[in-house]
Subunit: 498 residues, 2 copies
């Protein structure tokens, strides 16, 4: 029997899925295994596969099949209809960004990245500025094209690419709520922590042992080492596909927590990906529901679940086993207080849970002003430093501490930053719902039992794939639309407990 | 200015080159890094990329461009003409083997491989026989189609796919010469070695230290660790592309030589690939000149250069450094005699330099008879055992020792085996020419200096890529066409020295 247009589309997208898996492995290898001198060769391979992926997605055949399948959509089941909607979304995105623009952007970004590295070495934004200006120029073109195709404002179109279903209006509402509360919360938390400062933790913690301990913890969480790997890389990341998931972390011999919690963060991503609906695994509807939701899953594990007294109770014997720690500073309460220390600091990646969103909100404001032309690229350092001082009360004294710290803009990622903070807000709301459903969660965590929370996440989040818009998913999962309130309540009770 | 048809072809094949590089990395990862449970996912990725590679190579556009470029071939330079010839060869091969046949063959082979593993566990060929019969059936189809397309007899077409320019007539002539000489040579060598048997070498040799020693040796040879890796895998192999070459070996804690010489063997492949003409690196003419020549380069290093007194002189201090060896059995002459020990044995992969070609010739004879129908698959075990007894004087007592030992036929590789022995013959002839050109070679090898021999190989073999047919290349490099004589002389002087 001949295949229906919809069935033919499933075949086409199955192939695209395999391409994306191959691309992901090439990126993983580049960051973890590849010899240093092989970057050019890998660049060619990635470009060739990406070009072909784009070509396969934008053939007239796919366009025709989508139209014919949409005409017969009433015959389809719910999941299939959602799949068709995601197919169109992917295809519209691809059509809106022609290969010539993508190739130019890739080239300009590759150059900008090199000059970003140089500028960092010289601690001088001026060396990077002209290249960033070129990137901005092309990202504007891309935003305009994407916006036209999707019926969205340009910046919204960029956000939509990373986190479909999240609008600038959503972000503004949430960031406004955070902006009202966070400064006071940060002040109060710092004061409170100063009044009862924990004993500092120090020592030497062998990296191989840290990695073994991380493997123990990841196994407890449920990371499947027969279908995934944990390796080391410059920055932690997750690549791969649900059948072969690859996470990395970076271990610091002076700190037994940063590498572990980096691995736990990535495991949050991995468990989401692994929990996606198996029968849709090679289809668009079987993919994750965008970066903000991805980030909510990693932050839920890293921040809400594991920077907790319950988790420290589970972790304490492991620390003793691997590092023979002892003394009052290693008592559970003291370890916990070290894990939730709040400090005003200049580098986003080192920021704590409470000050982190302030960094993100500043970047969000700045990138919108850069894109709409209100802020000239050359004026970025001054604008950055002033804004951070206003919002966080400390001022970078040089570009390395300021606008040269992140790679995102150099590689053309505008509209990406908000997902970090929105992810935290989503995690806060999910944390609320999980704890309401699982009153014994803390007891379970204190024994290293994650089945309960994972079961809930699988049923209410992971298993849905990309079937629902993220706002719909939140309503179903937590009983209400996304708001900042549960997240802020969580922060308050964690950081202002008396 | 518009690109000429030839220039457009170069663009098309540049893309194919990137695809092949990506495919190679996926295979490397599958054998070295991939979690066990991820084989299915990887299979899908490989199939998707291979299908696309085939599709890109067989578009009407490429066919038209080749025809137009051939019509204007008089305008092209030598290298370009050779490149065009290789493009046509690749394309004709691809056209002759339609995706449907390749897909069926891949499926049947995947199943046959599983049953080969099962049959090995049960030590019972009968479990594998029906699946091998299916493979044979499809390989016959493929051979007929390829033969038609290339104007070759079916089996010749299979050989030509692996080792272009080597005909069954060439193989027959060479194997006849080997068949006349080797039995006597093997007898005489075994007798001679029995009369002055070396002291056995034994001990425990830590695998990490063996790997470090291998790295030292590979660095001496010139393996570029900034554009390549050495890892461990079940069987040694080489993957990757010249800018990112990946070799593996397998180390045995009871034997400090097998892992090292495995790595040296693969380094021979790697140095060939790395020496291919840089300016043609992403074009068909910039590729290696087939499996037989590939194998000549690995065997030249493993057998001719490194199973030698000169190399043992260089290796001896390294053995002492890493394993604190001492005693009379570790004297250079005794180590050397251990490295060239000849034994009649049943397993090809464990065979020594002298008996190895006998195993290959038996497989060559059998696979031709299977393909032309003279030998029924069910009769293979008996035929195998009888033939080996005739040729080598020992008889397998079960299928594991016999026709179940190699994976090649299970995965559809017919016409592949001869390249192992032809490679040794080529290596013998090249060894002759190198030593004539470099009288001080042994002295250099005894100091771990490989520049001389590598320089010669680069100028006379590597740098030529696929520009010349292999027979032409041999004439240019060694002054005469390929014959077995230098190889047999080399074996005689090595194994019958008084």
């Amino acid at each position: 029997m001949a295949l229906t247009p919809y069935q033919q589309l499933e075949q086409e997208f199955r192939r695209l899925h395999a391409f994306r898996g191959a691309l992901s492995l090439l990126r993983w290898d580049a960051a973890v295994m590849m010899p240093r001198g092989s970057a050019d060769v890998r660049g060619e391979q990635l470009a060739a596969l990406e070009t072909e992926h784009h070509a396969l997605l934008t053939t007239p055949k796919v366009a025709r099949l989508i139209e014919r399948a949409e005409a017969g959509a009433s015959q389809l089941e719910d999941w299939q209809r959602a799949n068709l909607r995601e197919m169109r979304r992917q295809r519209d995105h691809a059509i809106a960004t022609p290969p010539s623009l993508i190739a130019r952007l890739a080239k300009v970004c590759a150059r900008a990245e090199v000059h970003w590295v140089e500028a960092r070495k010289a601690n001088d934004f001026k060396l990077f500025a002209p290249h960033l200006a070129e990137v901005v120029h092309l990202v504007r073109d891309k935003a305009a094209l994407l916006g036209q195709a999707r019926g969205l404002a340009p910046y919204d179109a960029l956000v939509d690419e990373f986190s479909p279903g999240i609008s600038t209006a959503d972000i503004d509402t949430i960031f406004k709520a955070l902006g009202r509360k966070l400064p006071g919360l940060i002040n109060a938390a710092i004061e409170l922590q100063a009044a009862r400062a924990p004993l500092p933790l120090s020592g030497k913690f062998s990296v191989p042992k840290q990695k073994q301990m991380a493997v123990d913890v990841l196994k407890a969480i449920g990371f499947p080492f027969d279908r995934g790997r944990l390796d080391e890389s410059e920055h932690p990341f997750t690549e791969g596909v649900p059948g072969d998931i690859r996470i990395t972390s970076r271990f610091d011999a002076g700190d037994p927590f940063s590498g572990l919690l980096g691995a736990v963060h990535e495991t949050g991503h991995a468990m989401y990906d692994l929990g996606l609906p198996q029968e849709w695994r090679d289809q668009p509807v079987g993919r994750d529901r965008g970066l903000a939701l991805e980030e909510s899953q990693s932050l839920l594990f890293e921040m809400n679940l594991c920077r907790s007294r319950a988790f420290v109770q589970y972790l304490r014997p492991l620390l003793e086993k691997y590092f023979q720690i002892s003394g009052p500073e290693w008592q559970e309460e003291n370890v916990y207080r070290n894990l939730i220390r709040v400090r005003r600091s200049l580098i986003r990646m080192d920021a704590d849970e409470l000050t982190y969103p302030v960094h993100i909100m500043a970047r969000y404001e700045l990138e919108k002003r850069i894109l709409d032309g209100a802020l000239a690229v050359n004026d970025l350092p001054e604008a950055w430093n002033t804004l951070l001082e206003q919002r966080l009360g400390i001022r970078p004294t040089n570009d390395l501490e300021g606008c040269l710290q992140d790679i995102h803009w150099a590689v053309g990622h505008f509209g990406y930053f908000p997902s970090y903070a929105i992810g935290a807000v989503i995690a806060g709301q999910i944390n609320d719902a999980v704890r309401a459903a699982l009153p014994a969660l803390d007891e379970q965590l204190s024994k290293g039992q994650f089945d309960g929370v994972l079961g809930w996440l699988r049923d209410n989040v992971h298993n849905l794939g990309a079937r629902l818009p993220v706002q719909e998913l939140m309503k179903q999962a937590t009983g209400r639309p996304l708001t900042a309130a549960p997240y802020l309540r969580y922060l308050e009770s964690k950081y202002l407990e008396s």
